[in-house]
Subunit: 320 residues, 6 copies
């Protein structure tokens, strides 16, 4: 797709639709965080052979929301530390081989890097929710008829807990922890920054799960369309209304005002999976110190210059 | 796709690859059926308004494998009965609005028609397995590392139990029950015929879940590719070996010799979702009274003449 | 196509472009109906074997416009009747195997269901016009240089005559006859309701042949594009002007004000074959009792909830 | 398509499947030619303005098979003549603006060039057959249930008659007439050379309508697929058998042995509309003086070197 | 693409964005033309066998900008002459077999027709610039960081020199020389008309290289996208700025006001390679006698009626 | 593409077509290497700011074949060294932003990593050959009519010289230098290993430029098709013969027997850009210590497990 298909940049920069929070939005998250706190911090590290000098790789298994078994990969630089920590979240239905190479590279850059595998999506991360209704293939509509049951409730809490695991490590300087990820990982980056006090910097590439109402209307490809498909299979308008209500709790646009740490976002103008307007909708509701990098010629993909900017941001904030 | 892309028809007719059953294949299914029997038969019917005369529609909720809540739609002809029963299974990731219109039409044809909604795929049918590892989006790789955990174990048993529900109804003549469905529904038709003594006739359109080894190698589109994707994300050869071992238990080719009732299968020669050779592999292992209808110009889709043949077969066997 | 690509719904609801009727529009149709009347009502019914109880299927051959041989399928419920009648029209270049299964199902719902096969498109329905010029493959540009010769003149009249055949049957209660169809069948539904007094209710799914001027400009796919192709092969602006003049006579938008019976229309917002604005253009010119059902997530396809609404409408009006 | 998808060249060169002629094949064509002869030779030339010096363009209207009105374009070089004649046939559903520019260019090359517009496809060429059954959109299945009614019967005879018109012109040297065309025009070139004694040379680019039995099985795109679609809509095996019997009369493979004049054929190895094996099947049945040009890197398209070879062949044979 | 995707025609007709000329725009071209003049006019004609009467074909090799070896094909009508001259430029990455057939046909129409092969693109035309940086595959970004080095500087000058070669031929009436071409050839047509006094008429089909700023933003396909790709590989904003500055010198929109001869332009409204707005942007800046032909139903392709208009224009102006 | 489309693995493993070397093959490369030696070793390092600790990045400019300016990126680990060296080559038309992030990561793994930018493709690497004829867009057909002029002659020599640059650095242990790259970079890896004594290990992912004769025939996508396109534009069989003769000198299959160092190759079985058979053709002609990794489910893309194998191989051989 060669041309901007969404709003022009000048409008994107001002695009700030009203929040769609339900009255109990903050109460819901407070309650959810309290429920997370009921599961004690618990994890196990198993060293994992990796063909590189200067780094130690561990398989991590920890207890997530409602005690779910969640796996991650932890790569530590050689040496004593403490090192700055970097929490990493991966994209939707991605994480080939657990993205261990990427995680290791971050460790070689000096970070205690911890990649969480999303429940049900990869590795031993188990989704322990039994959903009370059927869903479209994928994760987007699992439990969508209730904010208490929705799939991402567990994922967001697993992400918060992962930060707590990282912060608890001896090798980690818990005052210097950042969060980063792209797409679903970008959404988790913003959600974790909104729901946890641990991160001091957040770097989100083309964050997903933002401004669902518009996303459903305009997104040409990718997993937002699972929602459209769910509404095709279940055409009752009341179901659609309930689902949209549920989504509002997990919309990172609605979570954005809760973010307190310094935040950087990137977006390509020909991104057809997380349309620019949905990303700007979330970004423009951030009240923290923030910046956004816009790439005219890129879509939902690796953007070398964005990577450089993220490297620099993290270097400045976490390895000053 | 205009041309036959799989084996030519003359080879398909003779295509009978060796079974890939593990030594404990039958023991596994005996054990599984015993486990099903531990859940007592239990269901509830709720009348559902439907704009047609001559038929009564009910939402059915019953206890499936390991007590899972499974939903179905039951349509009964007007009158006293007993009616011949027709068990219906739906395609993968399909079942829009629960396929109630189709189910009702079968009732208007004189059958007590019962459509099962597959667990996790539609309606209130809940998948109550907590899988111990992540999977590719969809259902094909859920629990694939163990035959005890694999997704279709529950589905196959829910399908058997659905037949037991249907057979237990007062309005149904349990000596005249057929099973039918296309694609995933065709696989469930064969599996149910193999694992239950209830059906006296089975009609399977382009059955899925057959001859996995070849399906993984040649299928150009559709959900078999979830397996290919799973092996991309998890490239350890041992994982692939374990997964293929698991699949062997659920391969309808391996179940085919257990089918005892009269069975009819249909397949289109340009079907790119359930390639003809995978269907013939299962068909050629059927030892029951059987017939197959081949359609040169059709793929994975509604085939009017196949429908007529199914109508005639069911009429002859169930409404003689 | 995930996103609305045509006007937003709020504009669609008000979208009412001026009619494009020529001054002799009504005169043309009066003259055409008189010409139809010159062919005496004549038809023959031949019983046809069908594997279902409770229904009788007949092949019907009748004399259409200018004496053309037109075929249809008639399915009657068992019993004496009289039954309410349901006239069915099929989609463009469709009608596989004459859609007999669909027609039979309507009979099982209690209707004397009669499906007309469009001339030249299927079965023994013969197009007896010798067109005076060449056309793009398909039927859209046959005879397009003159309203007297245009292909759909015969089809519209065949559709009216089919209603007269249906109404003349002993088994039919001619005061309770409805018309229904989708796409081309939706256009014929509206056209028949505009040009015949027989129907008391009309149900049109995504009607085709509406608001040609805009359709030519915006339709991304489907048979409207035959017109674009015709204008590519014949670039003389005068030919385009004559063709558009001809089309104006057959535009169901222009016929809409003539409809007197209760009318229901359905349309999906991602329909790329009959764009929503072309359907609303016709709908908004209906002056009868009317309603429209809009489906956000559907295109030019089977819409389960639309089917339920049609069932209910016909039940209320024809089987009260 | 980068790779040869049909037989390799070494096999193509030997590919000579048995003819599929019915016993009355020659009798059918003799009878058909006699019927053509019953329509007296009759035509009218109307000068047509064209922006070029050195050429005169005429619209020609003549009586084709069963008196059908057929149009063509005749371009004559300036001067007295007599000129060698070149009969041109166009591709299926093509002939934009009657291909007048191409026809004029042939006249500038020294030929009395006459392009026939196929009945029903372009210009004023009228298809005067009333077909007794419906067909798939397009011309391939019109009248396909009977060799007497099939669409191409008229077209082949119109093509023969066009040669007779050309040969009768004062400005034409009737001993030096060639025929040429591509695709459908290539089929008509071979058919005219088989059914008329007039041409002394034939040049056919990727001829269509050849070896239908295989074409239906392997052709990936283009109008052969109309036959596949017809068999989808009409699945009765007897209909398929009758249709294939009809096609056998018009298969240029079956007509090839009747060709007496020098003949040249071209084909590209990545032609997906008229697969190479279908073209070689016809070519290898030619018993006349013949040659074939094979183009490894070309499909169904303009091939500059083929054009040069045709120019040279015609120059040598018609302007020696 | 069926629908207009760019501005509506009423806006296109008025679309006249500001020129983007740098202050030294005219100075740059004056300097460039002076540099061309330093290479003396030098060429060689070699007769080339061609299978046609009435025309003589020559391979021409001449010295282009900075002495580059440039090849062309010259076709002369038979006879003494002097003939009107027609300079022809070809499309981007096109010119199969040097387009000799097309060139010959123009000679048969009475013109001394000369087709230049663009440097580096075809035949013996050698691009003698050594570019100081890497580029995206293709020619669009070669030397793009400097107007002195940019690829099209040489091409434009070669095009001017080709006119000088043509005008110097004895067989050519240098007061009657036209220029013509499509796409890249259309751009060269306008550029040559702007930079040379030789042509008295210019005919440009869908000219390329126009209004780059918008082209980069909206063009869906074709070689403009090489620029987008270049900016993906080289994301430094300064590089983008320098490249756009360079392009401004070669933008035919900026050159348009320099054109003095009568000029005709054609464009299709569904042209996705040279979007209509980019063509109108250039056209609306022409200050010469001018006309434009707009084709609603055509894209970037052969348009028969446009060809007729070009023939007529050239006939009127060059062969009055 | 889900299925293996090339030879089955069992045949690939034995696939060893005859070499296509010309008699002077080795003489050509000896002569070419001598010509390289005439250009003295010369380079310049410029430090480049990069946001990472533990690594120093330098822009390198050196003199390549015939003195061409060639750029590369050199990343050195912090510390004194000497470090093992890793020469990196990039893919065709790729190297976004010079692949600096990837190069830096290799340095963090302990290597003096040097990425060469291919002449004309990226950065300041200038292609200083003036080709004597036109080519298809891209680099594959530049100078293809002569082995002395062909584009890859310079590239292969630049690759050899890059190794000499790397080996000459004080920080590098010249006895521990490896080469690596994918696609075009894989071809350069094998070519450099064949033409230089410096590398002690070579790791080539899906190497390109192998077994051209078959590649031209079967490759479905990617830059091999530039050759097909060149032969479309230039259909003279003699041109094709000359081009194929030229390619034989650069075919890594023909160079394979010259490789002496340990070599590892990877290939995916659904790779449609460098088909498996072309890669095995080269691999099976390697006479060195060698191994190949085959990936059933991968195409021409990042393969995580291949990366791990390369890391391990390099670790074992270069950092023992």
């Amino acid at each position: 797709m060669a041309q901007p298909y969404d709003l022009p940049l000048s409008e994107l920069e001002k695009y700030k639709p009203p929040l769609t929070r339900q009255p109990d939005f903050d109460a819901f998250w407070d309650r959810t965080l309290r429920e997370l706190a009921e599961t004690p911090l618990s994890y196990e590290l198993t060293p994992h052979d990796y063909p590189a000098r200067g780094v130690r790789l561990f398989k991590v298994v920890y207890s997530g929301f409602r005690g779910a078994t969640i796996q991650g990969w932890l790569a530590l630089p050689e040496g004593e530390g403490p090192f700055p920590g970097l929490m990493l979240y991966h994209g939707y239905n991605w994480a080939m081989e657990g993205q261990i190479h990427d995680t290791v590279n971050w460790a070689l850059h000096g970070y205690a890097a911890f990649l969480m595998l999303c429940r049900g999506q990869q590795g031993e991360s188990a989704d322990n929710t039994v959903y009370s209704h059927g869903a479209q293939a994928g994760w987007m509509s699992k439990g969508i008829l209730s904010e208490d049951e929705y799939y991402y409730r567990g994922v967001y809490m697993d992400a918060v807990r992962a930060l707590e695991v990282l912060a608890s490590l001896d090798q980690v300087d818990r005052t210097r922890i950042g969060v980063s990820g792209g797409s679903q990982g970008g959404a988790l980056t913003l959600a974790a920054a909104a729901l946890s006090d641990i991160p001091v910097v957040a770097a989100a590439d083309y964050p997903y799960l933002a401004h669902f109402e518009r996303a459903i209307d305009i997104t040409p490809s990718g997993p937002y369309l699972e929602l459209n498909e769910f509404f095709r299979r279940n055409g009752d308008p009341e179901i659609e209304a309930r689902a949209k209500r549920t989504l509002s709790y997990f919309d990172v646009m609605n979570l954005a005002p809760r973010v307190k740490c310094r935040t950087w976002v990137s977006i390509g103008l020909v991104d057809t999976i997380t349309p620019p307007s949905t990303v700007f909708a979330a970004y423009n509701h951030l009240n923290c110190e923030k910046s956004i990098s816009v790439f005219r010629y890129f879509g939902h993909e690796y953007i070398p210059r964005a990577h450089e900017q993220r490297l620099r941001l993290l270097l400045e904030t976490l390895q000053p």
